[in-house]
Amino acid sequence: MNLMSVTLTVSVLLFLSLAGFWLGRNRAVAVSGGRIANLHSVPNYYGSYMALWAALPALVLILVWLALRGAVIDWMVLSSMSPQQLESWARVMLAPVELEALLPSIADGASALTETSRQLLLINISNLAIGQAQYVNAGVIDAITPAANHLAQLRGLADWTLFGIVVALAGSLLAITWSKIGPEFRARNNVERIITALLVLCSTIAILTTVGIVLSLLFESIRFFTKVPITEFLFGLQWSPQTAIRADQVGSSGAFGAVPLFTGTLLIATIAMCVAAPVGLMSAIYLSEYAPKKIRGVVKPVLEILAGVPTVVFGFFAILTVAPFIRDVGAALGIPISSQSALAAGVVMGIMIVPFVSSLADDVINAVPQSLRDGSYGLGATKSETIKQVLLPAALPGIVGAMLLAVSRAIGETMIVVMAAGLQASLTLNPLESVTTVTVQIKSILVGDQEFDSAKTLSVFALGLVLFLVTLALNVVALRIVQKYREKYD
C-alpha cells in the first residue's frame, strides 16, 4: 500500500471533518436567530455532529478497503494475463513436474496456477512493477511486463478511487447532516448517542480479546485432549516433559498431569503476594497518609520504576543475587535449599508487583473524602486507627482491585519464573524446593524446538485454557467478596 496516498486520504478526511465542525457550528449559530439559547444544543454539538458523520463512515470504509485492496488487485492483475504469457512465464520459472501439471489447463488462465506458482508469479510482477527488473529472471520479463504495467496502473488508480469514494462519501454525509440542522435538531443527543456507541464498542474489545484468546486456545486444546485424556491432565499428579517432541523421536515417560504446574504457579504467586501485599499496601498507606507531599511525589514514581524493570532483569536478579543469598542463608542454618527455590522466584516477583499495589491503592486511599478523615480525627482517633477503620474499608473496592491486578500479574508473569524457577515439575508446597509454573512450561515449549502436532506442544494450549478458567473462577470469587464488603461513601 502506498503510505503516501493513505496519509493523503486520511488528511483530507480530517480536513473535511474539521470543515464539517466549522460548518455545523456556524449553521447552528445562523439558524439560532441570534439567540443561542433558542437552539436545542450548544453550537459545538452541531459541529461535532457533522464532524463525526463526515469522519466515521469514511474511516470504516478506508479500513475495509485496506483489508481487501491487495487481494482484489492481485486477482485483477492475474486475470489480465493471457494463457500465452502465463505459459512463457511458467516455462522459465516452474519445475518440470509443475509445468506439466499446468499446461493442460493453461487455457483457464491464472486460475490454473497452483497457489505456489501464483505467489511466485505475483512477486515477479510486483518486483517489475516497482522497477526492480534486475531481480526478475530476464527470461520472463517480456511475458509479465504488461501485467506489471497493469499492476502499477491499478495501484495508482486504486488509491485515487479510494480517495474519490472517501471524499464523495464524506461530502454527501456533510450535505445530509447540514440539511438536518435546525433549532429543534437534537444535536447533543445525537452526538452522545454516537459517543456512547463508541464507548460500548470499546468495552466489547475486552470481550473480543477474551473470545480471541479462548478461540486461539480451544481448538488446539481439543486436539490435545484427544491425545491425552482430560482427566489425566486435570488430576494427574505428574508432569514429565520428556516426551517426544518430534514424531521420529522415541518418547519416554510422558506424563501430562497438570496439578504440579498449578500448585507451583499458586505457590509462587502466593509467595509473591506475601511480599507485595503488605509491602505495597503499607507503602501506599504511608505515602498517602503519613509522608509529606514532597516525599510522596518522589517515592511513588520511584516505586513505579519497579513495575517497568524488564522482567528478564528481575529474572537475572532472582537467579544470580537472591537465590544464592537464600541458599547461603539456608546453608548457614543447615537447611538445604534448592538453587531454584520457589522462594527466590516468588520474592523477586513480589518486588516487581509492589507498585501495582502501592500506586493503585495510594490513589484510591487518597480519593477518600477529607470529611471522613475529619470525622474520625474529631472523635479522637489516631492516624492509624482512622486508616484501619475508616479509610481502608472505604477504599476497599479499589484496594481489592489493585490486589487482584497484582495477583493476576503474578500468575501471568513469565520471564522471571522462566529464569528463576525450575523446569522440573514437582508436586510440593515447600517454598524451599524448586517448582515450575504453567507459564514456564508454556514459554519453554513454545519457543523451543517443537513439532506442532505432538501432544507436548498441544499441551501448551490446554495449559493456557485451564489457567484461564482457574483465574476466571478466582475472579468470580473476588467479585463476590468485593460486592459484599463494599462501603460506599458520600
Binding site: T196, S203, I213, V309, P310, G398, S408, L467
Partner: protein
C-alpha cells in the same frame, strides 16, 4: 450510656479520657500508631532498597559500556583497493575491503610481525569490523580517498575487556582471550598514546550487531518507541472509554458483571498467551507482517488494556457521587457530567493505571517472541510495518550472547530502557500531579 454518664455528676468531673486507665490505653494506642507508621516506612525502605540494589548492580556493570577502547592507526586509503572499478562512486566501493585497509595499517604499525598465526594475533587487536567505522568516515568525507590519515578505530572485544578490567591480564595466557604477544603490542601502542577510552556513541547510533564494539540500541529504541506509541494509542483511549462505559453508563446487571469478571481475568492471562493471540489473529488471520512494531503494539495494547480499565474504574468509583449530582442538577447530560467533572477528578488514578500498564508493556518480552520481534535487525525501523526489535527483547538476546562484551552492553541497555521508562512516565506523572486533589 448509663455507665458513661455515671462517673461525672459533680461540678468538676474527672474526664474519662485523662484517667490512668485512659492514659495507659492511650500509650498502647500510640505504640500501635508508631508500629503502624514504622511498618509503612519499612515497606517503603524495603522496596526502595531492592530498587537501589538492582540499579546499582546495573550501574556498576553497565556504565563501562558507555565507553569504548579505541586504537589510533595511520590508515592509507588506497583507492585501488576500495574502488577496484575506479568509478569514484561511493556506491560502487568494495565495502569488504575497508577491513583490509585497517589490517594493512596494523601490519605497517608492527612491521616485524610475520607468520600466519602471529599475523592473526595482530589482527585480533582491533575489532574485526573496524572497517565499517572507516567506511562511515569515508562516506561522510569521500575526499579522504587516496590519503593517509590517523583514525581512531574500535579495539577488539578482548582488548576492551582487558582495558576495562573485565578480564584479569595476570591470568595465564591460555585463560585469556588475548595472548602475551597481543598484550605486548597493545602496551607499546598505549605507550605511544595511541589508545584511548572514548564515549561510545555507536551505542546510540547503531543497531544490533554480533560485535559488541559495533552493537547499538538505536533500532531497539526506535522499535520500542513505535511499539509503545501503538500500545498507548490503542490502550489508553479504549481502556478509558471502556472504564467510563462500565462504571458510568452500563446498567448494573449480569452482563456487565460478566464483562467485569472477564476484564479482571484478562489481567491474569499470561502475557505469552497474548503472544499466541497475536500470532493467531494479527499474523495468521489478518496477515500482518512478522516482527512489526504495529503488531507488537497491538498485542501489548491488548495486554495492558485490563490494567488501564481496572485502574480507571477504581478511580472513577472513587469520585464522590455528589459531584455527579451537582453536574446533573445543572442540566449537564450524563456524558457531560462525566467528561467535565468525573473524568478530570479520576485522572490521577487513570494516569497511574497508564503508567503501570505502560511500564509493564515496555518491559515485556515473552509475547513479542511469539510474533517474531526477536528478529536480528541491523537498522532502525522506518515504519510501523518494518521489522524491528524492542529494548527488552534486545536485552533478552544480548543476555544470551557468548561474547563478554555483551555482558556490559546488556546492563547498559537495561539502563537505557529504564531511562526510557522514566522519560515516558515522567510526562504521565507530571499530568497526574496536576490533576491530583483531595476534596
Amino acid at each position: 450510656m448509663t455507665e458513661i454518664a455515671e462517673p461525672m455528676p459533680t461540678a468538676m468531673p474527672v474526664s474519662l479520657h485523662t484517667g490512668d486507665a485512659a492514659t495507659k490505653r492511650l500509650k498502647a494506642r500510640y505504640a500501635a500508631e508508631r508500629r503502624f507508621r514504622f511498618y509503612g516506612i519499612l515497606a517503603i525502605l524495603f522496596a526502595c532498597t531492592m530498587l537501589v540494589i538492582l540499579l546499582s548492580t546495573l550501574l556498576k556493570e553497565g556504565t563501562s559500556a558507555f565507553f569504548q577502547t579505541e586504537v589510533k592507526l595511520a590508515v592509507t586509503i588506497d583507492a585501488g583497493v576500495i574502488d577496484p572499478k575506479g568509478t569514484g562512486n561511493p556506491a560502487e566501493w568494495d565495502r569488504g575491503a575497508f577491513q583490509t585497509l585497517v589490517i594493512d595499517a596494523l601490519y605497517k604499525e608492527f612491521p616485524d610481525v610475520s607468520g600466519r598465526t602471529e599475523k592473526r594475533d595482530l589482527r585480533g587487536l582491533v575489532s574485526p569490523v573496524a572497517g565499517v567505522r572507516l567506511g562511515q568516515m569515508l562516506d561522510e568525507n569521500p575526499a579522504l580517498v587516496g590519503q593517509t590519515i590517523d583514525v581512531w578505530l574500535p579495539a577488539s572485544d578482548g582488548v576492551n575487556q582487558i582495558v576495562k578490567g573485565g578480564i584479569d591480564r595476570d591470568l595465564p595466557e591460555a585463560e585469556r582471550p588475548i595472548s602475551d604477544k597481543q598484550l605486548a603490542w597493545f602496551d607499546s601502542l598505549e605507550q605511544r598514546g595511541d589508545v584511548r577510552s572514548a564515549f561510545n556513541t555507536t551505542f546510540f547510533t547503531a543497531s544490533d550487531s554480533n560485535y559488541p564494539e559495533l552493537a547499538g540500541l538505536l533500532g531497539a529504541m526506535v522499535g520500542t518507541l513505535l511499539t509503545m506509541l501503538v500500545t498507548l494509542v490503542i490502550s489508553l483511549p479504549i481502556g478509558v472509554a471502556a472504564a467510563v462505559y462500565l462504571e458510568e453508563f452500563a446498567p448494573k446487571n449480569r452482563f456487565t458483571e460478566i464483562i467485569e469478571v472477564n476484564i479482571n481475568n484478562l489481567a491474569a492471562v499470561p502475557s505469552i498467551v497474548f503472544g499466541l493471540l497475536g500470532l493467531a489473529v494479527f499474523l495468521n488471520f489478518f496477515g500482518m507482517p512478522r516482527s512489526a512494531p504495529l503488531v507488537g503494539g497491538l498485542v501489548l495494547g491488548l495486554l495492558v488494556l485490563p490494567t488501564i480499565i481496572i485502574a480507571s474504574r477504581a478511580a472513577l468509583k472513587a469520585v464522590p457521587p455528589s459531584i455527579r449530582e451537582a453536574a446533573l442538577g445543572m442540566g449537564a447530560s450524563k456524558l457531560q457530567a462525566v467528561m467535565h467533572h468525573v473524568l478530570p477528578l479520576a485522572m490521577p488514578g487513570i494516569m497511574t493505571g497508564t503508567i503501570i500498564g505502560m511500564a509493564h508493556a515496555v518491559g515485556e518480552t515473552a509475547p513479542l517472541l511469539m510474533i517474531g520481534m526477536n528478529a536480528f535487525v541491523t537498522s532502525a525501523p522506518d515504519s510501523l510495518l518494518a521489522s524491528s526489535s524492542v529494548l527488552p527483547v534486545q536485552i533478552f538476546i544480548w543476555a544470551d550472547k557468548p561474547e563478554r562484551g555483551f555482558v556490559e552492553l546488556t546492563s547498559a541497555a537495561i539502563l537505557v530502557l529504564l531511562a526510557f521508562l522514566i522519560l515516558m512516565n515522567g510526562a504521565a506523572i507530571w499530568l497526574r500531579k496536576k490533576f491530583e486533589r483531595r476534596w
